[in-house]
Protein backbone atom coordinates (compact mmCIF):
# COMPACT_ATOMS: atom_id res chain seq x y z
CA UNK A 1 0.00 0.00 0.00
CA UNK A 2 1.07 3.56 -0.76
CA UNK A 3 2.62 5.39 2.20
CA UNK A 4 4.07 8.84 2.94
CA UNK A 5 7.65 8.32 4.20
CA UNK A 6 8.58 9.47 7.72
CA UNK A 7 12.26 10.25 8.30
CA UNK A 8 13.86 10.19 11.74
CA UNK A 9 16.53 12.83 12.45
CA UNK A 10 17.72 12.62 16.03
CA UNK A 11 14.74 13.38 18.24
CA UNK A 12 12.74 14.80 15.33
CA UNK A 13 10.54 13.24 12.68
CA UNK A 14 10.43 14.81 9.23
CA UNK A 15 7.57 14.30 6.79
CA UNK A 16 7.59 15.80 3.31
CA UNK A 17 4.25 15.43 1.57
CA UNK A 18 4.93 15.33 -2.14
CA UNK A 19 1.79 13.73 -3.52
CA UNK A 20 -1.82 14.82 -3.82
CA UNK A 21 -3.16 12.70 -0.94
CA UNK A 22 -6.48 10.90 -1.05
CA UNK A 23 -8.28 10.67 2.28
CA UNK A 24 -7.17 7.12 3.11
CA UNK A 25 -3.54 8.05 2.53
CA UNK A 26 -3.92 11.07 4.81
CA UNK A 27 -5.44 8.87 7.51
CA UNK A 28 -2.63 6.33 7.22
CA UNK A 29 -0.07 9.13 7.57
CA UNK A 30 -1.77 10.23 10.77
CA UNK A 31 -1.72 6.67 12.14
CA UNK A 32 1.89 6.04 11.06
CA UNK A 33 3.08 9.28 12.55
CA UNK A 34 1.39 8.64 15.88
CA UNK A 35 2.99 5.19 16.14
CA UNK A 36 6.36 6.54 15.06
CA UNK A 37 6.37 9.32 17.68
CA UNK A 38 6.12 6.60 20.31
CA UNK A 39 8.51 4.06 18.78
CA UNK A 40 11.17 6.68 17.93
CA UNK A 41 10.74 8.63 21.21
CA UNK A 42 10.37 11.72 19.04
CA UNK A 43 10.14 15.15 20.66
CA UNK A 44 9.22 17.04 17.53
CA UNK A 45 7.49 16.53 14.18
CA UNK A 46 8.11 18.72 11.14
CA UNK A 47 5.64 18.43 8.27
CA UNK A 48 6.75 20.06 5.02
CA UNK A 49 3.80 20.90 2.75
CA UNK A 50 5.63 23.14 0.28
CA UNK A 51 4.73 20.72 -2.53
CA UNK A 52 1.00 20.73 -1.69
CA UNK A 53 -1.09 22.70 -4.17
CA UNK A 54 -4.22 22.45 -2.09
CA UNK A 55 -5.29 21.89 1.52
CA UNK A 56 -8.98 21.22 2.01
CA UNK A 57 -10.92 20.74 5.24
CA UNK A 58 -10.03 17.05 5.47
CA UNK A 59 -6.29 17.59 5.15
CA UNK A 60 -6.48 20.66 7.37
CA UNK A 61 -8.24 18.64 10.03
CA UNK A 62 -5.55 15.98 9.74
CA UNK A 63 -2.88 18.58 10.60
CA UNK A 64 -4.91 19.64 13.63
CA UNK A 65 -5.36 16.03 14.73
CA UNK A 66 -1.67 15.25 14.29
CA UNK A 67 -0.74 18.34 16.33
CA UNK A 68 -3.17 17.37 19.10
CA UNK A 69 -2.08 13.72 19.19
CA UNK A 70 1.60 14.59 19.20
CA UNK A 71 1.02 16.97 22.11
CA UNK A 72 -0.64 14.20 24.08
CA UNK A 73 2.38 12.03 23.28
CA UNK A 74 4.78 14.70 24.58
CA UNK A 75 5.92 15.91 21.15
CA UNK A 76 5.46 19.18 19.25
CA UNK A 77 4.36 19.51 15.61
CA UNK A 78 5.19 22.31 13.19
CA UNK A 79 3.76 22.54 9.66
CA UNK A 80 6.07 24.38 7.27
CA UNK A 81 6.13 25.70 3.71
CA UNK A 82 2.48 26.45 3.07
CA UNK A 83 2.08 28.17 -0.30
CA UNK A 84 0.45 31.62 -0.23
CA UNK A 85 -2.42 30.57 -2.52
CA UNK A 86 -3.11 27.62 -0.21
CA UNK A 87 -3.14 29.89 2.87
CA UNK A 88 -5.54 32.37 1.23
CA UNK A 89 -7.89 29.57 0.19
CA UNK A 90 -7.76 27.85 3.56
CA UNK A 91 -8.87 30.96 5.41
CA UNK A 92 -11.68 31.64 2.93
CA UNK A 93 -12.77 28.02 3.31
CA UNK A 94 -13.20 28.77 7.01
CA UNK A 95 -10.25 26.87 8.42
CA UNK A 96 -7.75 28.76 10.54
CA UNK A 97 -5.70 25.72 11.67
CA UNK A 98 -6.06 26.75 15.29
CA UNK A 99 -3.73 24.68 17.44
CA UNK A 100 -1.34 24.00 14.56
CA UNK A 101 2.02 25.73 14.70
CA UNK A 102 3.36 26.86 11.34
CA UNK A 103 6.62 28.26 9.99
CA UNK A 104 7.64 29.67 6.65
CA UNK A 105 10.26 27.03 5.80
CA UNK A 106 12.08 24.01 7.21
CA UNK A 107 14.89 26.05 8.75
CA UNK A 108 12.52 28.31 10.69
CA UNK A 109 10.38 25.31 11.53
CA UNK A 110 13.36 23.53 13.10
CA UNK A 111 14.20 26.67 15.11
CA UNK A 112 10.62 26.86 16.32
CA UNK A 113 10.59 23.16 17.27
CA UNK A 114 13.86 23.47 19.20
CA UNK A 115 12.54 26.51 21.04
CA UNK A 116 9.28 24.76 21.91
CA UNK A 117 11.02 21.64 23.16
CA UNK A 118 13.62 23.61 25.17
CA UNK A 119 11.03 25.81 26.86
CA UNK A 120 8.96 22.77 27.71
CA UNK A 121 11.99 21.06 29.24
CA UNK A 122 12.29 23.93 31.77
CA UNK A 123 8.81 23.42 33.08
CA UNK A 124 8.89 19.62 33.07
CA UNK A 125 9.54 19.43 36.81
CA UNK A 126 6.12 20.78 37.64
CA UNK A 127 4.46 17.76 36.08
CA UNK A 128 6.46 15.26 38.12
Amino acid sequence: MERIPILKMGEYLLVTIQVDMHDRLAMSLQDDLTSKIVSAHAKGVLIDISALEMVDSFIGRMFGDIAAMSRVLDAETVVVGMRPAVAITLVELGLSLRGVRTALNIERGMDLLRGLIDSRGDGAGSAE
Binding site: D23, S57, A85, V86, E92, L93, G94
Partner: protein, 134 residues
Protein backbone atom coordinates in the same frame (compact mmCIF):
# COMPACT_ATOMS: atom_id res chain seq x y z
CA UNK B 1 -24.80 31.25 -22.77
CA UNK B 2 -22.39 29.18 -24.79
CA UNK B 3 -20.95 26.01 -23.35
CA UNK B 4 -17.91 25.08 -25.39
CA UNK B 5 -16.48 22.12 -23.52
CA UNK B 6 -17.75 19.65 -21.03
CA UNK B 7 -16.56 16.40 -19.49
CA UNK B 8 -18.08 13.90 -17.09
CA UNK B 9 -16.32 12.08 -14.30
CA UNK B 10 -17.42 9.40 -11.92
CA UNK B 11 -16.84 9.80 -8.17
CA UNK B 12 -16.86 6.43 -6.46
CA UNK B 13 -13.51 6.11 -4.65
CA UNK B 14 -11.19 8.39 -2.64
CA UNK B 15 -8.80 8.23 -5.61
CA UNK B 16 -11.56 9.68 -7.80
CA UNK B 17 -11.65 12.72 -5.51
CA UNK B 18 -7.94 13.28 -6.24
CA UNK B 19 -8.60 12.81 -9.97
CA UNK B 20 -11.38 15.42 -9.75
CA UNK B 21 -8.97 17.90 -8.16
CA UNK B 22 -6.47 17.31 -10.95
CA UNK B 23 -9.06 17.57 -13.74
CA UNK B 24 -10.48 20.83 -12.33
CA UNK B 25 -6.98 22.23 -11.88
CA UNK B 26 -6.14 21.43 -15.49
CA UNK B 27 -9.31 23.10 -16.74
CA UNK B 28 -8.64 26.20 -14.62
CA UNK B 29 -5.08 26.41 -15.98
CA UNK B 30 -6.38 26.02 -19.56
CA UNK B 31 -8.84 28.87 -18.97
CA UNK B 32 -6.10 31.16 -17.66
CA UNK B 33 -7.19 31.31 -14.01
CA UNK B 34 -4.54 32.82 -11.74
CA UNK B 35 -2.98 30.63 -9.07
CA UNK B 36 -5.22 31.78 -6.22
CA UNK B 37 -8.39 31.28 -8.27
CA UNK B 38 -7.17 27.86 -9.42
CA UNK B 39 -6.58 26.89 -5.82
CA UNK B 40 -10.02 28.11 -4.75
CA UNK B 41 -11.98 26.21 -7.40
CA UNK B 42 -9.88 23.07 -6.87
CA UNK B 43 -10.43 23.22 -3.10
CA UNK B 44 -14.18 23.78 -3.54
CA UNK B 45 -14.26 20.81 -5.95
CA UNK B 46 -12.43 18.64 -3.43
CA UNK B 47 -14.94 19.45 -0.68
CA UNK B 48 -17.94 18.77 -2.92
CA UNK B 49 -16.47 15.60 -4.44
CA UNK B 50 -15.88 14.24 -0.94
CA UNK B 51 -19.48 15.05 0.00
CA UNK B 52 -20.72 13.26 -3.12
CA UNK B 53 -18.69 10.20 -2.13
CA UNK B 54 -19.33 10.19 1.62
CA UNK B 55 -22.91 11.37 1.91
CA UNK B 56 -24.24 10.63 -1.57
CA UNK B 57 -22.68 7.18 -1.79
CA UNK B 58 -20.87 8.24 -4.96
CA UNK B 59 -22.03 10.10 -8.02
CA UNK B 60 -20.84 12.17 -10.93
CA UNK B 61 -19.21 15.48 -11.72
CA UNK B 62 -19.75 17.44 -14.92
CA UNK B 63 -17.07 20.03 -15.65
CA UNK B 64 -18.11 22.76 -18.07
CA UNK B 65 -16.51 25.86 -19.44
CA UNK B 66 -18.93 28.77 -19.45
CA UNK B 67 -18.91 31.96 -21.45
CA UNK B 68 -21.06 34.95 -20.58
CA UNK B 69 -20.25 37.98 -22.65
CA UNK B 70 -16.58 38.65 -22.08
CA UNK B 71 -16.49 36.45 -18.97
CA UNK B 72 -15.11 32.95 -18.90
CA UNK B 73 -15.54 30.54 -16.08
CA UNK B 74 -15.87 26.96 -14.91
CA UNK B 75 -19.11 25.35 -13.86
CA UNK B 76 -19.03 22.18 -11.76
CA UNK B 77 -22.14 20.07 -11.30
CA UNK B 78 -21.98 17.35 -8.63
CA UNK B 79 -24.84 14.86 -8.66
CA UNK B 80 -25.67 11.82 -6.59
CA UNK B 81 -28.65 9.56 -6.01
CA UNK B 82 -28.03 9.29 -2.30
CA UNK B 83 -30.34 9.93 0.65
CA UNK B 84 -30.53 13.68 -0.04
CA UNK B 85 -30.47 16.49 2.48
CA UNK B 86 -33.64 17.06 4.51
CA UNK B 87 -32.64 20.46 5.91
CA UNK B 88 -30.48 22.39 3.44
CA UNK B 89 -30.37 25.52 5.59
CA UNK B 90 -28.87 23.51 8.44
CA UNK B 91 -26.49 21.64 6.13
CA UNK B 92 -25.15 24.97 4.87
CA UNK B 93 -24.19 26.10 8.37
CA UNK B 94 -20.51 26.28 9.26
CA UNK B 95 -19.64 23.45 11.59
CA UNK B 96 -22.78 21.39 11.00
CA UNK B 97 -22.10 17.80 10.01
CA UNK B 98 -23.91 14.48 10.15
CA UNK B 99 -20.59 12.69 9.61
CA UNK B 100 -17.30 13.17 11.39
CA UNK B 101 -15.90 16.06 9.37
CA UNK B 102 -15.58 19.70 10.28
CA UNK B 103 -18.86 20.72 8.66
CA UNK B 104 -17.12 23.11 6.29
CA UNK B 105 -17.69 21.25 3.02
CA UNK B 106 -20.82 22.98 1.71
CA UNK B 107 -20.41 26.35 3.41
CA UNK B 108 -16.71 26.51 2.55
CA UNK B 109 -17.28 25.51 -1.08
CA UNK B 110 -19.90 28.26 -1.33
CA UNK B 111 -17.46 30.86 -0.03
CA UNK B 112 -14.86 29.71 -2.56
CA UNK B 113 -17.28 30.00 -5.49
CA UNK B 114 -18.73 32.93 -7.45
CA UNK B 115 -22.10 31.20 -7.73
CA UNK B 116 -23.55 28.33 -5.72
CA UNK B 117 -26.79 26.37 -6.02
CA UNK B 118 -28.00 23.25 -4.25
CA UNK B 119 -30.99 21.11 -5.03
CA UNK B 120 -31.74 18.11 -2.87
CA UNK B 121 -34.70 15.87 -2.22
CA UNK B 122 -34.80 13.33 0.60
CA UNK B 123 -34.65 9.85 -0.88
CA UNK B 124 -33.77 11.07 -4.36
CA UNK B 125 -30.36 12.71 -4.25
CA UNK B 126 -28.46 15.93 -4.30
CA UNK B 127 -27.18 18.25 -7.00
CA UNK B 128 -24.69 21.00 -6.19
CA UNK B 129 -23.71 23.47 -8.91
CA UNK B 130 -20.92 26.01 -8.55
CA UNK B 131 -19.42 28.53 -10.95
CA UNK B 132 -16.18 30.36 -10.56
CA UNK B 133 -15.54 33.22 -12.98
CA UNK B 134 -12.04 34.07 -14.01
Amino acid sequence: MLVPLSENRSISTPEDVVAVRQAVRQRAVDLGFNLVDQTKIVTAASELARNTLQYGGGGTLRIEEVLQGPRRGIRLVFEDNGPGISNIELAMKDGYTTGNGLGLGLSGAKRLSSEFAIDSRPGEGTRVTIVRWR
